[in-house]
């Protein structure tokens, strides 16, 4: 009998997780961040419930500072699949005009994303949320459960996490508590790219190299995605062939110079490259163990 390939096993496991989570919750939602991991999650969710549609809406916790190409891609995907999309923008951030230039990356991320996520979950009363985090992303994630319990304040307490055995997940919660479920827990970045390649999953064009206007700041290439970006005196955006290895708010996401304009070229480049994925994210740089702190505060 032929053995399943590693991607077949990972896919089957993710589907099992999706089905289990939906069956054991009252009101599930899938967090959709428009990145490649979200694309893979959406693809797996579609497979898990086929021929039904995924029985939950998507939630995009928006910061208003994503790349324009991400908004366009998001709206196309949702229209194609006929899914419900909820977009939430923290009203306090809208009122105060929170942005990474005036308020710094830490405050920007905390208020739009961490606080915005909590508010959105509370507003709709979701008791379970799917997220695209992977255990290989960062050391503190290696111990994250597939089903991760959060307190009514959305805090993650490493001491209160439940043991997970076999394929048996315990999604029971006390009032106010909620569950974060990570169907991609056991996928690596390479698995994700291989699967995108094999299944021909659509991803945001920003992952592919193209001439884009960028400025270089502290060694990081920032794309000037719209006219909200204040240029420093004498700074002139430069058209360079760049692409993004990870997507977030455009002022906080570093581009890399690249000629990789096809999926196979991206994978080739990634395998030959020398720095890890999250390095492109300004927010992880603060200090060693900073992801763990963010998780305890409720960052996904």
């Amino acid at each position: 009998m032929p053995s399943l390939t590693h991607l077949q096993r990972l896919e089957a496991e993710s589907i099992q997780i999706f089905r289990e989570a939906v069956s054991e919750s009252e009101k599930p939602v899938m967090l959709y961040s428009v990145g490649k991991d979200s694309s893979v999650m959406l693809h797996l969710a579609t497979k898990a419930f086929y021929p039904s549609k995924p029985p939950f809406p998507l939630l995009h916790v928006d910061t208003t500072w994503k790349f324009q190409a991400m908004y366009e891609f998001r709206d196309e995907m949702v229209a194609d699949l006929g899914l419900d999309l909820l977009v939430y923008q923290n009203p306090e951030c809208v009122r105060l005009g929170i942005n990474p230039f005036d308020h710094g990356s830490a405050m920007h991320t905390d208020m739009w994303k961490t606080e915005g996520l909590k508010q959105a979950l509370d507003l709709h009363g979701f008791d379970l949320a799917f997220g695209g985090a992977r255990r290989d992303e960062e050391k503190s994630r290696a111990k994250e459960r597939v089903f991760s319990i959060r307190s009514a304040q959305h805090r993650w307490d490493p001491k209160q996490q439940r043991p997970e055995l076999w394929r048996l997940y315990n999604a029971r919660t006390s009032p106010g508590e909620s569950v974060r479920v990570f169907p991609l827990s056991n996928w690596t970045e390479l698995d994700v790219w291989q699967y995108i390649h094999l299944e021909q999953i659509p991803i945001v064009p920003l992952y592919f190299a193209a001439p884009r206007p960028v400025v270089e700041r502290d060694g990081t290439l920032i794309m000037v995605d719209d006219d909200r970006m204040p240029l420093l005196p004498g700074e002139v955006p430069d058209k360079r062939n760049v692409r993004f290895r990870t997507l977030g708010c455009y002022p906080l996401t570093g581009a890399i110079e690249s000629e990789a304009s096809t999926l196979t070229e991206i994978i080739q480049e990634m395998l030959l490259t020398t720095s890890s994925e999250r390095q492109g994210r300004v927010i992880d740089h603060d200090s060693s163990g900073s992801m763990e702190k963010k998780k305890q505060e409720g960052y996904f």
Partner: protein, 636 residues
Amino acid sequence: MAHISNDLLATDIDEYLKVHEHKTMLRFITCGSVDDGKSTLIGRMLYDSKLVFEDHLAALESDSKKVGTQGGELDFALLVDGLAAEREQGITIDVAYRFFSTERRKFIVADTPGHEQYTRNMVTGASTAELAVILIDARKGVLTQTRRHSFLVSLLGIRHVVLAVNKLDLVDYSQEVFDSVEADYRAFAKEIGLEDIVCIPMSALRGDNITEPSENTPWYTGPTLISHLESVEIADVVHAGPLRLPVQWVNRPDLDFRGFSGQIVGGVVHPGDRVRILPSGRESVVARVVTFDGDLDEAVAGQSVTLTLTDEVDVSRGDVIAAATDPPGVADQFEAHVVWMGEQEMLPGRPYLLKIGARTVGATLAQPKYKVNVNTLEHTAAKTLELNEIGVCNINLDRAVPFDAYRENRDMGGFILIDRFTNGTVAAGLLHFALRRADNVHWQAIEVDKEARSAIKGQRPALVWFTGLSGAGKSTIANIVERKLHEQGRHTYLLDGDNVRHGLNKDLGFTDADRVENIRRVAEVAKLMVDGGLIVLASFISPFRAERRMARELLGEGEFVEVFVDSSLAVAESRDRKGLYAKARRGELVHFTGIDSPYEDPEDPEIHLDASGAVSAEDAADQVIAYLRSAGIIPG
């Protein structure tokens, strides 16, 4: 990845992807203590398989100088130590999952601590592993912890073991030392039924026999660790076994389609196969094996699919679709190994939830027949199981479940126990066999006491005492609370003036002395009911602190819940439904609380309800329910 030197990658990415997209996967667990060099071994495997990025490598170099234990040389252990607190303590305190891959396989490593206290973590990591790497320090040989790890590996049904005899550099790569450790271990492993064992001499620190055969061990002709992990055949008994598919989700997009979605955990399925649905026992035939990528002619263990059947048989979540010729058993009483994982000890007779496959049922455990000392493997008598203890118990379920013995199928015989109050996962268990009814006459007799009476009701007994002015709304709220509790299946009784004054206390009036006696009798009756395991609701003006304190003191710690239904006299008087305030004002009623008899506010009630009218009685009742839940009196 930093220093990959794969020609194929650079020259023919399409061919490279073809190879890598068709790799197989192996999940394994590493067992050993920090001292055995376990983290170093895992770090070394990640490093040697070229999965360490240069930015990680830079961090590793600087960390090695700062906190490393290798005198400034690369300390691979730092690659895998996770949470900040653990890094400071220098120990791993939970299960961490690591990933690496080679040309032939992707690996998922469950990294679990070897410390004595953490049986829980090792069992968790072992539950999904197909192979175990057990580390031994060559200088120390087979230790107590080696036996413990091996026992757990065997218990959890892992059939393939690698004995990594590590730190061989510290015994001058002595073949004699290696041979003697191997002989000791094989003798022990045989006793506990481990058969497929490969022993490899190595030094994780120096990289001997990890990926490349070492020049330091010319006498060793076996495989390196990685080449063994890449090639070991996981002879999958699950594939060969009969069809098992626990139904996770009934798939009904429209009236024309009714499918049953789940992951195959045993055997193979084809359209046309005759199947039996358990526990009902009804039979049907598979019509289609549906997936997003099209219908399949065959699906095998491990795949997640959706089956449709040729008849309209009733199938719901938790049922198992199985080979009609070789179906699993169905039973409600079992003997099982139980690994206790909760902070609070196991309570025999107390109802827990048991999840097996996609089915969750109520379960009670008898007193353990014995517990197993994981160090000596001795069986000792036990009344309960505490955190990290393993025992053999009889389990009684409130509904029958389909099952196979754990050793035949992990997914059909492995279960978790969930605490009804905290919702935590408190134990893992392995079903061995069903008890025949005749065996049950010796079902554990437990002493029938308050604990037993309340356990059978799935609640903790309590006296919830509503105090406040006449007209404050005590009885209204208490009635709603009782209704809500009843709807949740809780066992309750409501004591109030209406049902007590007309019978038990009809000889009493409203003088201060009679009020005191009234409350004393009510409290004594309530105490008996609490002893019977009930949640008792008492609704009495009970104006005096001393009497309320007396009632509190009659009961056990945490059993008395004082609810102050707080309304001003004016508001209560304005509600005067029975016209009592009017009578009292006219002097027709004496000793009326609030008018000519005092009401002493509770000083520190468990619950303080706003009864001024701002909060509805329904919401006030919800506050009481929420408190009962948070206090663990009723399940969450």
